[in-house]
């Protein structure tokens, strides 16, 4: 009984480490093609990168705007409720500004993109694997990593931080709208105080995290796609797995980065 449990933990750990290694190796290969592809006559196409960035970023714009706005409103409600006993409701400006830029905007964007695009990337590469399209690319002389994985990585690195900036703005706007309704504070005054309270470091923290999340979503999505099991069921399972794994990895990475960035 105990032995079986230990064996299971052991084999799962081994599998996990193996997969992590695979994802990191893919990351290395994607960066390799990005840097040296041209010399190997296989440049990463800029058009493909921007196509990915558009699909990941532009199409997610409305939903990011709405969610970030909602989070800003909620943070302001909770902030005002928490600060009221101290008679410090007006300090909600600082709370919302820091919480949104450092934490919530990158996190919301990360989770949203993982759900929207991470799964789509896994499904796309997985079905291509199933129908031998990846083999077809290889025999034509096209590295699937260069052709499919590298554009996704670069597209993510463009789209996720950009969406995070949008999330920052919309979250703060949400806080401003709520505060202007509940507190004796104009929107203009709220925004001015926000600008005064924010430091470049707050924005930087959020953006660093968003870059990390971008890499996580891209690599988890791509590596699950390349390793897809057989059949339509395999693609479905990998897709679910990809989303769960990347959201978990994002939250854990968020914790680690928050700890180290605030030391």
């Amino acid at each position: 009984m105990v032995r079986a449990i230990v064996e299971r933990i052991g084999s799962q750990t081994l599998r996990g480490v193996g997969e992590l290694g695979y994802a990191v190796a893919l990351l290395g290969e994607s960066l390799y093609w990005t840097a040296l592809g041209k010399r190997r006559k296989q440049a990463v196409r800029l058009a493909a990168v921007f196509h990915e960035a558009a699909v990941i970023g532009v199409q997610a714009t409305p939903i990011v705007a709405v969610l970030a706005f909602a989070v800003g409103v909620m943070l302001a409600i909770q902030g005002i409720a928490t600060l009221r006993p101290f008679g410090a409701e007006s300090k909600v400006v600082l709370g919302v500004a820091m919480a949104v830029t450092r934490e919530f905007a990158p996190l919301i964007v990360g989770i949203l993109v993982a759900g929207r695009s991470g799964s789509a990337i896994t499904a796309r590469i997985g079905t291509m694997h199933e129908s031998q399209e990846l083999d077809a690319l290889r025999v034509i002389g096209i590295s699937p990593v260069r052709y499919l994985a590298a554009p996704v990585l670069l597209g993510m690195l463009i789209a996720v931080p950009t969406l995070t900036v949008l999330g920052d703005l919309m979250g703060i706007l949400g806080g401003a709208v709520l505060s202007s309704l509940q507190l004796d504070m104009s929107m203009h005054a709220y925004l001015e105080r926000t600008l005064a309270a924010l430091t470049p470091d707050d924005i930087r923290q959020g953006l660093i995290k968003s870059l990390v999340f971008a890499v996580i979503i891209a690599q988890v999505g791509v590596s699950n796609g390349f390793q897809v099991g057989s059949g339509a069921e395999g693609v479905g399972r990998s897709t679910t797995r990809s989303v769960v794994l990347s959201i978990s990895a994002i939250v854990l990475a968020d914790m680690v980065f928050t700890f180290f960035l605030n030391r």
Partner: protein
Amino acid sequence: MDATPSSQPIIEVENLTTYYGPRRILNGVNLSVQRGEIMVIMGGSGSGKSTLLRHLLGLNRPATGSIRLLGRDLASIGGLELHELRREIGVAFQGGALIRSMTVGENVRLPLREHARLDEATMGIMTRMKLEVVNLAGFEDLMPAELSGGMIKRAALARAVIMDPKLLFFDEPSAGLDPVVAAELDELILRLRDALGVTVVVVTHELESAFKIADRITVLDQGEILVAGTVDEVRACGNARVQNLLNRRPQEEVLDVDEYLHRLTGHGV
């Protein structure tokens, strides 16, 4: 560029042995394909013919043995050299393997776009020329999902020959097609060989198609080559397994009672 004198085989496989996990798939396979000939690799399912094809395409690495394509050893070849070698090789996969997010025309010109520096107009003309050859003129702007099975195979063939390769692989050309369309595809392969002077390797389990197009046939069974020779030589071959395959007789299995009991009780090998 042409590193192979005409007498040298286009494909040389020596003593190729491969494993899938602990299971041996190919066992000491030797094969040579001469310039300009149509070689059919024939075998039932599980014979190892698909694995052999994957090795010939450089998609899998052999456990032991060597594979030389157009005079170059796949095991020792560098990445850039392999990239160059791929220009000389066309492959039509069983299910076509057209990229589903691209139109037929974009699929066919994909190798050109990657390997040659040509302007769009020239690539368009070359694409339409190859589509004419496979009787798909006018289907350039359709998506692969809008094509029938036979059309997909022909489009895949057009993509395979767009670079005018020296060597063409075709995996199961007639699988999943009705007899008439399959026969048309056989004709097309013969026509292409005559028009382009390309060496063709066809992997199939269809006897009729194999006998019609082959210059030589290699019969593969359980990972081993049973016979390799001209159509007549293969027909005349005395090997019982070859004759079983040619006459569509199921393999007679000799029953080992002990092993059978072992298998049933779950203690078997």
